[in-house]
C-alpha cells in the first residue's frame, strides 16, 4: 500500500550536498524517477553544477508532491525537508544546512564518532542521522550514493525502499550489470545501518535561507571582468576532492630527482634549497595537502618508492601538510 507524503498540500523537498564524482546527481535521479514512474507521485529533479568536472561542489535537488499537485517553480530548493551531506568535510560549510526546516532531517556520511560541533547550528527539533556511507560502500564494493539512498529510504518509509531499489537496479542493469548486486548490498546496508543522534541541534525554528553574495558587486567589480589578482586560486582548499586516499612522502627514500613534480597536476609538491654542503641542492620537503586531489600520479612516477598510497584517516593530511606558501596561506 502506498504511504502518503508527509504534507499533502506542499512539496517534500530534498537537497543533496556533494562533490562532483560522488554520485549525488545519480542518486537524485534514481529517487525522483522511482517516485514519478513507480510510486505515482509528481516530481522534479535537477542539479546545480558547472562544467563536467570531478571534485567540484554539486547540489542536487528533488521535489516530490501528490500526483495532482502541479510543479511550476524550477528554482533550487530553499527550505528542504531533508538535507543529505555526501562528504563530512561539507559539514564545515554553514551553507550546507541553509534553510533546513525546524522539523527537518539531516543525513550525513561520516565514520562513527561524536557529532561534529558544526551540527549545533541545526534546528533543535531536527532529526540527525549519521551513516558510514564510505565504509559501507567499500565493504559492498559499491559507491556512497547507493548507501545514502538506502538511508534516505530507511529514514522515510513513504519513500518505498523496494521501489527505489528497483529503479536503482534498472539504472545500472544496462551499462553496469556487474554493479547491480553490490549496489543492492550497499543500499540495504544503508537502509538499516544508520544511527540517529540525539540532542544535536541548538537553533530555534527553521534555519535561514542562504543566498551567496558575490565578492565584488557592480560598484566594486573591476571593469571589463578582469581579475587583477594573479594566482588567487591558491586560497582554494581542494582537500574535499580526495576520495579516501592520499600520497605519503618518505623523505628517507627520496632522491629528490624531480620526476614527481613533472606529473603532479596540482602543484602541491613543496621544494626548497638543500642544506648548505648537503647532498642535494634542491629537496622535496613534502606535500601541501590543501591542493592535493589524491590522483596518486606522483606515486606512479617515483623511481624509489618514496611516495606511497595511504588511506586518509581524519587529521592525517593536516598533521603532515607542508605549506606551499608559508606566511601567506597558513
Amino acid at each position: 500500500m502506498d504511504m502518503p507524503l508527509p504534507h499533502a498540500e506542499r512539496f517534500f523537498e530534498i537537497r543533496f550536498e556533494s562533490i562532483g564524482g560522488l554520485g549525488a546527481h545519480a542518486a537524485g535521479q534514481v529517487l525522483a524517477s522511482a517516485a514519478v514512474l513507480r510510486m505515482g507521485l509528481n516530481g522534479a529533479h535537477f542539479s546545480s553544477y558547472g562544467s563536467e568536472k570531478k571534485g567540484s561542489l554539486v547540489r542536487s535537488f528533488v521535489r516530490l508532491g501528490q500526483a495532482e499537485l502541479p510543479i511550476r517553480t524550477s528554482a533550487p530548493v530553499e527550505k528542504p525537508d531533508v538535507i543529505v551531506v555526501f562528504h563530512a568535510a561539507l559539514l564545515q560549510n554553514p551553507a550546507s544546512f541553509a534553510g533546513l526546516r525546524a522539523d527537518g532531517t539531516l543525513i550525513y556520511n561520516a565514520r562513527p564518532g561524536p557529532a561534529p560541533q558544526e551540527l549545533a547550528a541545526l534546528p533543535r527539533g531536527a532529526r540527525v542521522i549519521r551513516v558510514d556511507a564510505l565504509g559501507i560502500a567499500v565493504r559492498a564494493k559499491s559507491r556512497p550514493n547507493a548507501v545514502l539512498l538506502g538511508t534516505l529510504c530507511g529514514a522515510f518509509p513513504f519513500l518505498r525502499a523496494d521501489v527505489v531499489l528497483e529503479e536503482l537496479t534498472q539504472e545500472f542493469a544496462g551499462r553496469h550489470p556487474e554493479a547491480v548486486a553490490s549496489n543492492e548490498r550497499a543500499f540495504r546496508a544503508g537502509a538499516s545501518e544508520f544511527e540517529t543522534l540525539e540532542a544535536v541541534g541548538r537553533a530555534q525554528g527553521d534555519l535561514p535561507v542562504a543566498y551567496s553574495e558575490p565578492a565584488w558587486g557592480y560598484e566594486t567589480q573591476p571593469l571589463g571582468g578582469i581579475i587583477p589578482a594573479p594566482g588567487n586560486t591558491a586560497w582554494n582548499d581542494l582537500s574535499m576532492s580526495r576520495t579516501g586516499w592520499l600520497p605519503l612522502l618518505d623523505r628517507g627514500k627520496c632522491i629528490h630527482c624531480g620526476l614527481c613534480d613533472l606529473v603532479c597536476p596540482d602543484q602541491c609538491l613543496v621544494w626548497a634549497d638543500g642544506e648548505e654542503g648537503g647532498k642535494f641542492e634542491r629537496e622535496l620537503m613534502g606535500i601541501d595537502y590543501r591542493y592535493c586531489k589524491g590522483c596518486l600520479r606522483c606515486i606512479e612516477s617515483c623511481p624509489t618508492a618514496a611516495m606511497a598510497k595511504s588511506e586518509e584517516t581524519p587529521g592525517l593530511a593536516d598533521r603532515l601538510r607542508v605549506p606551499l606558501f608559508p606566511g601567506l596561506i597558513g
Binding site: H45, K53, N232, L328
Partner: protein, 770 residues
C-alpha cells in the same frame, strides 16, 4: 478539446484530422524531451556542434542510434557555423532537418539564420537558451535568443520539458505549411529546463504522429534534376525588398496557421498552448510578463497574492515570432500596472526586447492606460525565486495604487558590492629574475641549421616558480597541467598566454579567482589564434614606435584543446599562413572533455564518446582522427612538433625549441597528447602506461618538423618497444570494446591506418627534403 473543421488549411500533404493519441508517462529533462521528439519525428538528418547546455540532445540521439532506436543521420559539424551550413544544405535537399545549440553557438550560426528564412527553407532548431559571452557564462538567460528575433524564423517558447516535446511536433507542421514555409526555432531555458527532469507524456502512437506531421511538401530542391533551378542568386535593390515582403507575409500567415496547428496538437494530446498564455488574467489589475520558466514560478506567487486579495495574473508568450501584439493588447487593456521581466537587456534601449515590444503593442491602443515597469533579471543563470516574483508584483501593485512609476527601467537582483570588500588577493608577481635562469640551453647546429637542446637536471627546474598557481579546479589526474608545467619550466622570460575555450580555461579562471600568475586572455572558442596574432602585432608595433620597451621580450603562447583546433582551425591556419611570431600549443585529450566528452575530429576511430556511443548497432566513432600536425606542417612553418606528457624530457626540449622559433622566426605549432582519466575511463594514476602504449603502438608518434625536415624523436620500432594498438586500446574504458572478438575487423582497420601513417612518417624522416 477543440473540434476541427475539415476545411482548415494544412501542409501540402493530405493530413487527416487528428484524434487523441496514445501516450505514456516519462520522467525527462527538456533536452531529453527534445531528443525523444526528434526520434519520434524521425528527422532525416541532424547537423550539430556541441555546446552547453544543448549538447545532450545530440548525446541522447547518439546513444539511441547506437542501439538502433532511430536512423537519423547525425553529422557533427566543425563548429556551429559549419553545423548550420550542414543543416541548410540538408534542408535544401528536401528532408526534415534538426539542429540544436546555445549561446555562442547560436551567434556563430547566426549568419545562416536569415539566409535560411529568406530562401524559405524550413527546418527546426532547438535553442537551450544561455547567456552570450563577454565574459563567458555557461548558464541560462535569453541573451542568445534575442539575437534571433530579427532573422525571420518562427520562434516558439517552451516553458517546461513537456512543452519542449510537444512544440517540436508543432514546429514541423508550422514551418512546412505552404503559407508559411519558414524555419522554426524552439527556445527553452538552459539548465533550468534543459537539465531539469519532470513528469511528461510522450506519444506511444507512431500512426498518430505520422498522421499529425504528414509528409514534408516538395519544395523546390537542387536534388530535383528534372526541374533545374538556381538556389541563392545575388539580388540587389529593386528585388530584395520584395523577397522581404514575402517573408513578412509568411510571418503574417503564421499568425493564422500557428493557432490551427496548436489546436490540432491539443486535440491529440489534451494539452493547450495558446499563443499568449494568460494565467488568472480575467480580472487582473496587476500582472507580470515573463518568458518561459520564470513565468511558471510567478504563477505560484500570483496564486498566493490572489489568496491575499490582490488581483494578480501572469502573461507569458508561447510564440515570440510572430509577436502576439494583439493578444497582449487585449490581455493588458484593463490592467493597471505590469512588470515586464527580460532575461536579457537591449543595452541603452530602456528595456529588454520583450518589454519594448509589449510597450509598442499597447501604445497603439488608445484606450490603454497600463503603467509599465521594465526589469532585467536572471542574467547568466541567476535563479528566479518566488521572492523575485513577489517583488515584481509588489512594484506593479505600488504603481497601480499610486498611478506613478517611480523607476520605469531597472536591473533586478544585482549586487552593489561593499567598499573595500573583494575576493582574496593574488600571489606576488613572478619577477623577471625568477624566470630568467635558463633550464634549457638551445644552440643552432651550424652544419644542419637545426636546434640542439640541453636540459638542466629535473630537480634544478623545481626552482622555477610555476606560472600557474595551485587551487585550480581540474579533475584529479588531469594531464593538461603536467603539460603546462613541463612547457612553462623550460620557457624563459615574460609569457603572455591565450587559452581557447576548454577544460584548462574553465578550471583556471572561475570568477573571481584565477590560477594564472601571468597575463592571460580568453576570447572565443574559435578565435584564439586570430586574437593572439593581433596582440602580437600590436606589441611589435608599439615597441617600434617606442611606446613599449623592447626589453619586455614577451613570448606569446596560445593554449588550446583538440576541440579548439576543430572550430578554431580556420583562424589558426590563417595565423599560421601569416607566420606571426607565436606558439600554438594543443593539449590533445581526444574529445570535447569540458562539455562532457563529445567527439572531436581528433578522437580516434572507434573510441566511445558521448556523441559516438557504443551499442548493439554502432561501435564508436566512425572516421579516423585528424592529423593536425601534418596540416600545420603543410603551412611550411619554422617548427611543428608532437609530444606527450608521458615523455617529459622530449616535450621540454621541443618546448624550448618552440620558444626559440616563436620569438625569432614565426609561428610554431605543437600537439601534445594529454591524459583525461574521467573521459578515457581510466584510473586517475594510469597516465603513464596508457600514454606509453599510445606512443609505442605508433598511434601517436613523437616527431618534429624543423624547417620542413621531419625527424622522429622516439622510434619504438628501433628501440624494440613496438606494440600493437590493442595493447593501448585495452587499457581504457572508452576503447575496451574494440579489443573484443566481435570488433576484430575494426581493430584491424585501426592497426592498418596506424601502420600506414607510421610508414609514411618514417619515409619522411628518411628523405632529406621531407
Amino acid at each position: 478539446m477543440t473540434t476541427l473543421s475539415a476545411t482548415l488549411p494544412r501542409t501540402g500533404a493530405d493530413v487527416p484530422a487528428p484524434a487523441a493519441a496514445r501516450q505514456k508517462l516519462e520522467f525527462r529533462s527538456g533536452n531529453e524531451a527534445a531528443a525523444l521528439a526528434a526520434r519520434d519525428i524521425g528527422y532525416h538528418l541532424m547537423g550539430y556542434f556541441p555546446i552547453t547546455p544543448s549538447t545532450e540532445i545530440a548525446e541522447n540521439l547518439s546513444e539511441m542510434q547506437a542501439n538502433g532506436e532511430h536512423d537519423i543521420v547525425m553529422v557533427a559539424g566543425d563548429g556551429e557555423h559549419g553545423a548550420a551550413g550542414i543543416c541548410y544544405g540538408a534542408a535544401l535537399g528536401g528532408g526534415r532537418v534538426l539542429n540544436a545549440t546555445s549561446a555562442q553557438g547560436l551567434l556563430y550560426a547566426l549568419e545562416q539564420l536569415p539566409v535560411q528564412a529568406g530562401t524559405r527553407v524550413p527546418m527546426v532548431l532547438n535553442v537551450a537558451a544561455r547567456s552570450v559571452s563577454g565574459p563567458l557564462d555557461i548558464r541560462g538567460d535569453h541573451s542568445d535568443l534575442y539575437y534571433a528575433l530579427n532573422t525571420g524564423w518562427i520562434i516558439l517558447c517552451a516553458r517546461d520539458p513537456q512543452a519542449v516535446y510537444d512544440l517540436n511536433f508543432a514546429a514541423i507542421r508550422i514551418g512546412e505549411h505552404l503559407d508559411v514555409r519558414l524555419p522554426v526555432l524552439i527556445a527553452y531555458d538552459g539548465f533550468i529546463t534543459s537539465h531539469q527532469k519532470r513528469r511528461i507524456q510522450v506519444f506511444d502512437d507512431p500512426e498518430a504522429i505520422a498522421g499529425f506531421l504528414g509528409v514534408r511538401p516538395d519544395f523546390p530542391s537542387p536534388l530535383d534534376t528534372e526541374h533545374p533551378a538556381t538556389f541563392g542568386p545575388y539580388m540587389n535593390d529593386p528585388d530584395l525588398i520584395n523577397n522581404k515582403v514575402q517573408l513578412s507575409q509568411a510571418m503574417e500567415a503564421a499568425r493564422r496557421v500557428i493557432p490551427e496547428v496548436l489546436a490540432d496538437l491539443e486535440a491529440m494530446t489534451g494539452r493547450a498552448y495558446p499563443v499568449l498564455d494568460a494565467y488568472r488574467m480575467d480580472d487582473a489589475e496587476v500582472a507580470s510578463v515573463l518568458v518561459n520558466s520564470a513565468a511558471e514560478t510567478a504563477k505560484e506567487t500570483a496564486d498566493e497574492l490572489r489568496a491575499r486579495g490582490e488581483r494578480a495574473g501572469v502573461l507569458s508568450p508561447n510564440v515570440l515570432r510572430p509577436f502576439p501584439a494583439e493578444e497582449f493588447r487585449r490581455a493588458l487593456r484593463r490592467v493597471k500596472a505590469v512588470t515586464i521581466g527580460d532575461r536579457a537587456d537591449s543595452y541603452g534601449a530602456g528595456g529588454g526586447n520583450l518589454s519594448l515590444e509589449v510597450r509598442a503593442a499597447i501604445q497603439v491602443d488608445p484606450a490603454n492606460r497600463t503603467r509599465v515597469l521594465s526589469r532585467i533579471y536572471g542574467l547568466g543563470g541567476k535563479d528566479f525565486y518566488a521572492a523575485d516574483a513577489e517583488q515584481f508584483f509588489a512594484q506593479a501593485i505600488d504603481a497601480a495604487a499610486s498611478g506613478k512609476v517611480s523607476e520605469p527601467f531597472a536591473y533586478h537582483g544585482a549586487t552593489p558590492g561593499k567598499p573595500g570588500a573583494g575576493p582574496r588577493p593574488g600571489l606576488p608577481a613572478i619577477t623577471a629574475a625568477e624566470v630568467s635562469r635558463p633550464m634549457a640551453h638551445v644552440r643552432r647546429d651550424s652544419a644542419t641549421g637545426r636546434l640542439a637542446v640541453e636540459l638542466e637536471p629535473l630537480w634544478k627546474m623545481t626552482s622555477v616558480p610555476n606560472r600557474i598557481a595551485p587551487g585550480h579546479g581540474a579533475c584529479p589526474g588531469c594531464g593538461t597541467f603536467p603539460v603546462l608545467n613541463q612547457v612553462y619550466r623550460v620557457m624563459q622570460g615574460n609569457i603572455v598566454v591565450l587559452f581557447q575555450t576548454g577544460c584548462a580555461m574553465v578550471v583556471t579562471t572561475g570568477y573571481p579567482a584565477t590560477a594564472h600568475r601571468i597575463n592571460y586572455i580568453h576570447n572565443l572558442f574559435q578565435n584564439g589564434a586570430a586574437t593572439l596574432s593581433g596582440l602580437v602585432e600590436m606589441y611589435h608595433e608599439r615597441v617600434r614606435r617606442g611606446e613599449l620597451p623592447a626589453s619586455r621580450d614577451i613570448t606569446f603562447v596560445m593554449v588550446t584543446g583538440d576541440g579548439g583546433m576543430d572550430i578554431g582551425m580556420g583562424s589558426a591556419l590563417g595565423a599560421a599562413h601569416r607566420n606571426h611570431p607565436m606558439l600554438i600549443l594543443e593539449y590533445d585529450n581526444q574529445g570535447y572533455m569540458n562539455t562532457g566528452a563529445q567527439l572531436s575530429y581528433s578522437t580516434p576511430f572507434g573510441h566511445r564518446t558521448s556523441t559516438s556511443e557504443v551499442g548493439s548497432r554502432l561501435p564508436g566513432k566512425r572516421y579516423h582522427h585528424k592529423d593536425t600536425a601534418q596540416i600545420f606542417s603543410a603551412c611550411h612553418l619554422p617548427y611543428v612538433f608532437t609530444a606527450s606528457e608521458g615523455y617529459p624530457e622530449d616535450l621540454m626540449r621541443k618546448a624550448a625549441k618552440a620558444q626559440w622559433y616563436a620569438k625569432r622566426e614565426g609561428l610554431v605549432y605543437g600537439k601534445v597528447l594529454s591524459f583525461c582519466p574521467l573521459n578515457w575511463r581510466a584510473a586517475d594514476d594510469a597516465a603513464q602506461p596508457i600514454l606509453q602504449a599510445a606512443v609505442d603502438s605508433c598511434f601517436f608518434p613523437l616527431y618534429e618538423v624543423e624547417h620542413g625536415h621531419t625527424s622522429i624523436t622516439y622510434d619504438p620500432e628501433a628501440s624494440g618497444r613496438l606494440h600493437p594498438v590493442s595493447d593501448w586500446l585495452g587499457q581504457m574504458g572508452k576503447t575496451r570494446h574494440l579489443v573484443k572478438s566481435e570488433n576484430a575487423s575494426i581493430l584491424q582497420g585501426i592497426q592498418q591506418e596506424t601502420d600506414r601513417r607510421w610508414r609514411r612518417l618514417k619515409a619522411m624522416h628518411a628523405h632529406p627534403d621531407l
